[in-house]
């Protein structure tokens, strides 16, 4: 029974990681890629780690697994948010030719949002 719960959590987490990688490869511009990575990846990592804690039967090392999951839950969306903010403020990230070919981000829009 414990193995079934652990396997379900592990497979669900890996599926979320795969969805996140698919979004990273297939989405057209930076904002949608950041959307895919920030949420689906964090959820996938937390699900995989919960599955590993259940598989470990809350034995030695489970505390570190929970700590990594909690730290990732805090820091990973914050880091992606900081990347997106620096891209919005035009801090050397999104160059204007690529943004124009994607048809979304122009430097004037970034100026307006500042």
């Amino acid at each position: 029974m414990t193995d079934v719960i652990a396997a379900a959590l592990l497979i669900a987490g890996t599926a979320f990681l795969m969805i996140s990688a698919l979004g990273l490869i297939r989405f057209p511009d930076f904002w949608t890629r950041a959307h895919a990575v920030a949420k689906a990846e964090t959820l996938g990592l937390v699900l995989v780690f919960m599955g590993l804690v259940v598989l470990n039967r809350f034995g030695p090392g489970s505390l570190q697994l929970v700590l990594i999951a909690a730290f990732s839950l805090l820091v990973n969306p914050t880091a992606i948010h900081a990347l997106a903010r620096s891209a919005l403020r035009g801090g050397g990230g999104v160059d204007e030719d690529a943004a124009d070919s994607n048809g979304e981000l122009h430097s004037d829009d970034a100026e307006d949002h500042r």
């Binding site: 193995d3 652990a6 396997a7 592990l10 497979i11 987490g13 890996t14 990681l17 795969m18 996140s20 990688a21 990273l24 490869i25 930076f30 890629r33 950041a34 990575v37 990846e41 964090t42 996938g44 990592l45 995989v48 780690f49 590993l52 598989l55 470990n56 034995g59 030695p60 090392g61 570190q64 697994l65 700590l67 990594i68 730290f71 990732s72 820091v75 990973n76 914050t78 880091a79 992606i80 900081a82 990347l83 903010r85 620096s86 891209a87 403020r89 035009g90 801090g91 050397g92 990230g93 999104v94 160059d95 690529a98």
Partner: protein, 88 residues
């Protein structure tokens, strides 16, 4: 159970290679940083799966914890750097 863990480790290893492809392909610096952040997280997951496959999780979680403390913070530092470089 080890068979399932092995299959999942191969899948997550493929996702890490996907992150490397994203780093090589991304048109801007920010895209490459996003892909490398994805690679850091998926390699932490891969490290934990390898620890459970080897049957020594209490050995690998400490390595994973220190790697997570280092690797999850570097997009923050790079974002601060890129933001401060061009700001008036």
């Amino acid at each position: 159970m080890t068979g399932l863990l092995l299959v999942l480790a191969f899948v997550v290893g493929g996702l890490t290679i996907t992150a490397v492809i994203g780093v090589a392909r991304g048109p801007t610096v920010i895209d490459r940083l996003l892909s490398s952040s994805f690679g850091a997280v998926s390699s932490v997951v891969l490290l934990m799966l390898i620890g459970f496959i080897f049957g020594r999780p209490e050995l690998f979680v400490d390595i994973g914890l220190s790697y997570a403390l280092l690797a999850f913070l570097f997009p923050l530092a790079f974002a601060r750097y890129l933001e401060s470089r061009k700001s008036p």
